[in-house]
Structure formats: structure tokens, C-alpha cells
Amino acid sequence: MYLEVMDGKVTGTLPSMNHPISEGSLCIKGWNAHEPVHSQKRLTKPLIRKDGVLTEASWDEAISNVAGELARIRDQYGPNSLAVLTSAKCTNEENYLLMKLTRAVLGTNNIDHCARL
Amino acid sequence: MSADNGFEPTIIGFLCNWCSYAGADLAGGSRKKYAANVLPIRVMCSGTVSPHHIVKAFQMGADGVLVTGCHIGECHYMKGNYMTAKRIPVVKELLGFIGISPDRLMLDWVSASEGEKFARVVTEFSDKIRSLGPSPLKGRVHGRVKEESQASA
């Protein structure tokens, strides 16, 4: 898959016509892969909901918050009270890592991917 | 005739406001008998009938589509019906190629004073569609699509 870049902005997606696997085809997510890149709605900083309001936070704070809550819920209600949804916008490797984290660390098989929605 | 099989076709008629719609009025007003299978849709010129309207009509279950406009040279918008005259044969070809008999689409010119012609055109076309039978798209249409488009209609 190729991204069309014009003046430093990603403007379009093209399939790789001579790729041995995709043979020039893309699905609708692939064809629109460029759209989220410059989207205004993109999350660029961690936000934590404090008293009902999304508040900007540092990465360290956000990560320890998430880790703490996950551990709390797991300890209190058991690992199967957790579920993880991964994304088509991540790489294969990121999705793999999340799978590992879910099964080996959280201890649940509740993991799915948005492409199956 | 095959009328005895009880099949009454649904025909969508796109009638130009300035001629055939008035022609239909005249036919009714002068108590001409004609087949009641055509559901008329008034358009401002036969040239505004896009191929999309025609195929949508078929998709929603029409057995036939009739387009009528002013005679060539008499279009209210000068050359609107030139477009119709060029476009309809192309639409027919495409319908035929994807498997919908081109005979299910008909174009004719009917002026406001031709009440009698309107009655004849409608009756003849209804007979033809009756002999062709129900549209093969009926029942084949993607179920969910049908529900949705009817709900939004």
C-alpha cells in the first residue's frame, strides 16, 4: 500500500499493484487509510476523565492510571471481567503485542478486533 | 392473453409536466379507458429523468418503466428531450446487458393534446409488460436493501 503525499500532507492511498499478496487490491479500510492521519478528531494527548470532564494528562499519569485500574478490576472481579478491543489502524505487531498483554498479563481471552465488527 | 394468470404489472411512469402529464389529464377528462397500471410521477422535463431513477424503480420492484416527453422540437426547455432521446437507448442497452429485458423500458412522445395517444401507449405498454411477466428483480433484490429504501421513501 502506498500513501500519496503532497506538500508534506498525506492525501491519498494507492494499492501496490505488483504486491504478491494483495495483487493491487485493498479493502475499504485500506483505501481510506490516509483519512485519519490529519484528522482534527485525532487524539494527540492522553486525556483522563476526572469528575466527568476529560482532562489533559501526562503519559506517565495516564499509563499508571490505566495499569492501576486494570489491576484493580482484575483482582476484584477476576480477569474475565476485562475485555480488549484492538484496531485496524495499528500494525500487525502492535496488535500482536496487545494480544500477548491481554492473555499473558491480564489473563483473559477476551480480545477482539474491529475488523470483525 | 396472459392476463388470465392474474398478474397485474406495476409500471412507473415518468411524465413530462408540459405534455404527457397534461395528456394523461386529457385522457382522464375525456373518459378514455386505459390500463391503470401506471403510477405517474410528474417531472419538469423528460430530460430530467436520470438513469438512476429508472434503475431505482426497477430495483424497488417495478415491472416496467415508461418515460414520456414532448415531441422532438416541442420541449419546453428547447432541447431537454434530445437528452432523453439519446440517453434512453443507452439505458436500454445496459439493462439488457445486465439481464433486465430492454422491453421493460419504454420511451414515447405524447403531447398535451394527445389524450388518445396517451391512453393507447399506456394500454399497449401494460399489455406488453403483462406478457413479459413480473420483473426478474423482484425477490432477487437484496432483502435488507429493499426494506431500508422503502422505509426511507
Binding site: 485493498l26 | 438512476h52 431505482k56 434530445y82 443507452v90 439481464g99
Partner: protein
């Protein structure tokens, strides 16, 4: 190829063209690329491979960013036909093109089933013979209308609505696409409204398709789209003697209000 590179380089250096659009090979990967004088080293990778892209479509986007400028572009037979159509539809704005013609090899022509595998002026390569495999078209034309419906319904049912056929098509340029009209093609449903989706596409291609075959090449469901559009090209030729991509001063009979073809009186 060296000759061609030299020509392009010269045109860039003399300022005859502002930039150049072509195909390059990067470790075996073929992709389109656009370059200006500032990154002239890129030119070394210029190639005329088997793989193809919609250069015409990319050109129209570059043209929009560079009004009034001259853009160099590598053109094959199909690219030239596409640029003719885009010019007719005013999609290149005020930019002008300087075309560097590349004739395809007989192998490429065969692979693309190309009706004219060379542009009008050739700067690289030799004219290969036209290819015209139309077995499927002939077979379909000889079928009964019922069999044709069964055939196409089965094909259209495979469509995953990726819009790839539209996205890749060099002559699909509308800002607002009828295929995204929710009244005609309701959202969230696959396959998309059958046969409305494919009917609309075919109708829009009737007077525009330049028979490059990219739609069929990109379709993940292997729907023989090109066969429909080839049929439409035939219809346009028979009814109106109109062939898209033939000449920039041709006017589409479906795009003008003029008299044309056989008017039914």
C-alpha cells in the same frame, strides 16, 4: 530508458516542465512518483514496468496544486487516453502537460488486454500489437437475458463495496460521487444495492471509460467489471460513433444537448 531520462532531465533543467510524474522501481516495488528539479536523483529510478497506476488521476491532483504550470508526465497508451478524457472534462485546470510517450512491451499489452498499447508519440519502446480478448463479452452477448441476469447477480453479490474500482479509475473524478448517495446506495450494507450500484457505475462509464482495465485489476472480488464497460463502449460507438479517449475535441453525446445519434421521433 537512458535516452528518456536524459530528455526528462533536460526539460526539467531548461524549465520546460515544472515537475515530472512517472513510475519508479524501488527494490522491486513499482510506484508512481513526482519530482522536481530539486530531487533530480530520483529520476534514476524511472522505469516502464509491467505494473501500472492511474497516472492520469494523480496528474489531475498535481495539476490542481500547480495551476498554470507545465507538468511532465510519462504516458502509455492508456494514460494518454485518460488524459484526453480528463482534458475534455476540464480536470487539469490551467496546468499544461508535456507528455513523454512509452510504448508497452507485447507482454504488458497481453497482460492488460490493451486495445492500444502505445501513445501517439513514442519516446521509449516499440509499438506492440493491439490485444483484444473479448471471449467473455461475446459469450455474454450470446446468452439469453435470463442467463445474463443470473450471471451478473452472482458477480455483483461478490462486491465488498470497497470503492476500489471507482478510486483507481483514471476518469472517475467527481467530488461528489453518486455511488455514495444514500438514497441510491444505502449505507452499511454489503453487497451494495444490487444492481443499482454497478448499473450507476456502468452508466457513468459509458461515455468515459478508456478501457485501461485498472478497475478489474484492483477488484478484490474479481468481478469482470471491464466487460460491462467494454459493452458500453461498444454501444456508444454503435449508437453515436463516439469513442472515449479518442480525441480531445470530441464531445460526449450524453454530455451535450445537441442532436446526435439516432433521435427517435
Amino acid at each position: 530508458m537512458e535516452e528518456l531520462k536524459k530528455k526528462v532531465k533536460q526539460a526539467l533543467e531548461e524549465g520546460k516542465i515544472h515537475g515530472f510524474l512517472g513510475l519508479k522501481a524501488d527494490e522491486g516495488d513499482i510506484s508512481p512518483f513526482f519530482m522536481t528539479k530539486d530531487n533530480i536523483a530520483e529520476l534514476e529510478k524511472l522505469t516502464a514496468p509491467d505494473g501500472r497506476y492511474s497516472l492520469g488521476k494523480i496528474l489531475s491532483r498535481i495539476a490542481a496544486q500547480n495551476p498554470g504550470k507545465a507538468i511532465g508526465v510519462m504516458v502509455r497508451g492508456c494514460d494518454e487516453r485518460a488524459i484526453i478524457e480528463l482534458t475534455k472534462a476540464s480536470q487539469l485546470g490551467t496546468a499544461s502537460t508535456v507528455q513523454f510517450g512509452v510504448a508497452c512491451t507485447p507482454q504488458t499489452a497481453e497482460k492488460c488486454n490493451c486495445p492500444q498499447p502505445y501513445p501517439s508519440t513514442i519516446d521509449f519502446g516499440e509499438k506492440a500489437k493491439s490485444v483484444n480478448h473479448g471471449e467473455l463479452l461475446t459469450k455474454l452477448e450470446q446468452m439469453s437475458v435470463e442467463d445474463r441476469l443470473a450471471y451478473w447477480m452472482a458477480q455483483f453479490d461478490k462486491c465488498i463495496k470497497c470503492y476500489g474500482c471507482r478510486n483507481i479509475c483514471p476518469v472517475c473524478y467527481c467530488q461528489e460521487c453518486t455511488l455514495e448517495d444514500k438514497n441510491l446506495v444505502p449505507g452499511g450494507i454489503v453487497p451494495p444495492a444490487t444492481p443499482v450500484f454497478h448499473f450507476i457505475k456502468a452508466m457513468h462509464m459509458a461515455d468515459r471509460c478508456i478501457d485501461c482495465g485498472l478497475c478489474e485489476a484492483t477488484c478484490p472480488s474479481n468481478i469482470p467489471l471491464r466487460t460491462i464497460y467494454r459493452h458500453m463502449r461498444k454501444v456508444m460507438q454503435e449508437l453515436f460513433d463516439y469513442v472515449p479517449g479518442r480525441a480531445a475535441d470530441d464531445k460526449s453525446p450524453l454530455g451535450t444537448l445537441e442532436e446526435g445519434g439516432r433521435l427517435i421521433h
